[in-house]
Symmetry: C2
Subunit: 261 residues, 2 copies
């Protein structure tokens, strides 16, 4: 059974695709900024989402191979740590962010994907809350990008990001991962904004409310968000934390219309 070549000489790396919501303008700043800011935000024409998109931190490679190019944050697997711990560690070391959600994505191991040596990369994908992104390291070699417009990365990282984006958009339809983008309590409008940004499609507020409420994924906290210039919305919280990994196979479809395309 232990046939096959000697695997020593193969190195195991861990990389992570990190998604966050672009900070954009917070609702408070938005209104505090007055009409100018409001008009500028609206004039982008991006519907109700204030023009926000997905954000993703990349790091510039400081050595060969691929020196100078942008790449996913990552590093070598430490012999004593689990794959997930390695993902979280390298993620924080290189970018300074801590994930609210971390799940294994895929393992890339083609012989030619890295020159010189054979590298097997276990790739994770992560979601971080907006407030986490402010802890990000202030380093010219770390920059945030729009994952839909990012091309020309080192190695096969273009492919990896594309795959992770597909996974994020698909998984949004049958799990509760959207909560990982938000604070512990949130309004349904904020939750809907996450879906709209990720799915790149406006959703009917009324139907969205019906779908989410009937799914039982959130509960009413009984509190209201005050300080808005309009009717105060209810605050909700998730029922269950989103779990990942090979145990996380509980597929609770939220609603068909929240699926891709």
């Amino acid at each position: 059974m232990n046939a096959g070549g000697d695997p020593r000489g193969i190195r195991v790396a861990v990389s992570t695709v990190i998604f966050a919501l672009e900070p954009g303008v917070s609702p408070e700043e938005f209104w505090a900024g007055g009409l100018d800011t409001a008009l500028r935000a609206y004039s982008t024409g991006e519907s109700s989402s204030l023009g926000r998109t997905l954000w993703m931190p990349l790091v510039r490679r400081l050595r060969e191979p691929g020196e100078g190019r942008w790449a996913l944050p990552g590093g070598w697997l430490d012999p004593e740590e689990s794959l997930e711990a390695a993902a979280a560690r390298t993620l924080e070391e290189t970018t300074g962010v801590r994930p609210a959600y971390l799940e294994q994505l895929f393992t890339f191991g083609d012989p030619g994907r890295s020159p010189d040596e054979r590298v097997v990369s276990v790739v994770y994908w992560a979601l971080v809350r907006p407030e986490e992104t402010s802890d990000a390291i202030d380093d010219p070699n770390v920059r945030w990008f729009d994952p839909d417009r990012t091309r020309g990365l080192a190695f096969d990282h273009d492919t990896i990001i594309e795959y992770a984006l597909g996974r994020l958009r698909t998984k949004l339809g049958y799990s509760q991962i959207a909560h990982a983008f938000l604070e512990p309590t949130f309004t349904l409008a904020e939750l809907r904004e996450v879906y709209e940004i990720v799915l790149q499609r406006p959703l009917d507020p009324a139907n969205f409310r019906r779908a989410v409420e009937s799914s039982g994924a959130v509960v009413d906290t009984g509190e209201l968000r005050t300080g808005t210039p309009h009717r105060p919305p209810k605050l909700y919280r998730p029922v269950h934390p989103a779990d990942a990994g090979p145990g996380g196979f509980v597929r609770v479809p939220i609603a068909p219309h929240l699926r891709r395309s």
Copy 2:
């Protein structure tokens, strides 16, 4: 960026969870066998599926760790081959079967999952056609099991099989992998039988037909299967081959009622 411990000393293995349909009695044999065989098959009470279930080959470990226990077929990754090629190779070396479908499942790499040394296992799952299983190696150290009743395997292989089963049942609902269990052309009854066996649930033939036809996943070949003791059914073939891997993200929902539970 290349911080972290030296990854050498970590070995990369590849394992595969293989699913096939239990050969059971082919329709021809079934009817050729006469009433005795027919009654015996029917008396199992397993509805229209002639009592067939899923089958999975396991191999007995011939050395420590876990000597004597049953385990998933696998082996070490060769430095020059891709992960998928390694999965196909070790699969054939140990069990003699060649997969009609092969997709990466998950990478298991907890530090303590194998005693003594650190092993990162990239696990694949495969589907094989029934005729392939006849090529299986005749070896007392290879035996076929019912994946739903298999417990007590070496390492963390119980967990892996459970995860693969969940993946198979889930993926059946939104992809065309069921074709990988069948010959190049098949009747809708045969396709339905695959779904019934995997989902462990009877399906209404009329509604199944409607769902599959409207999904556009199969096309009528114009031919009929003859030799049956009843009205000859039409033969169909898949429109697209089922593709796996990080490109295979085309999610074409066949029908909601073909999903799990």
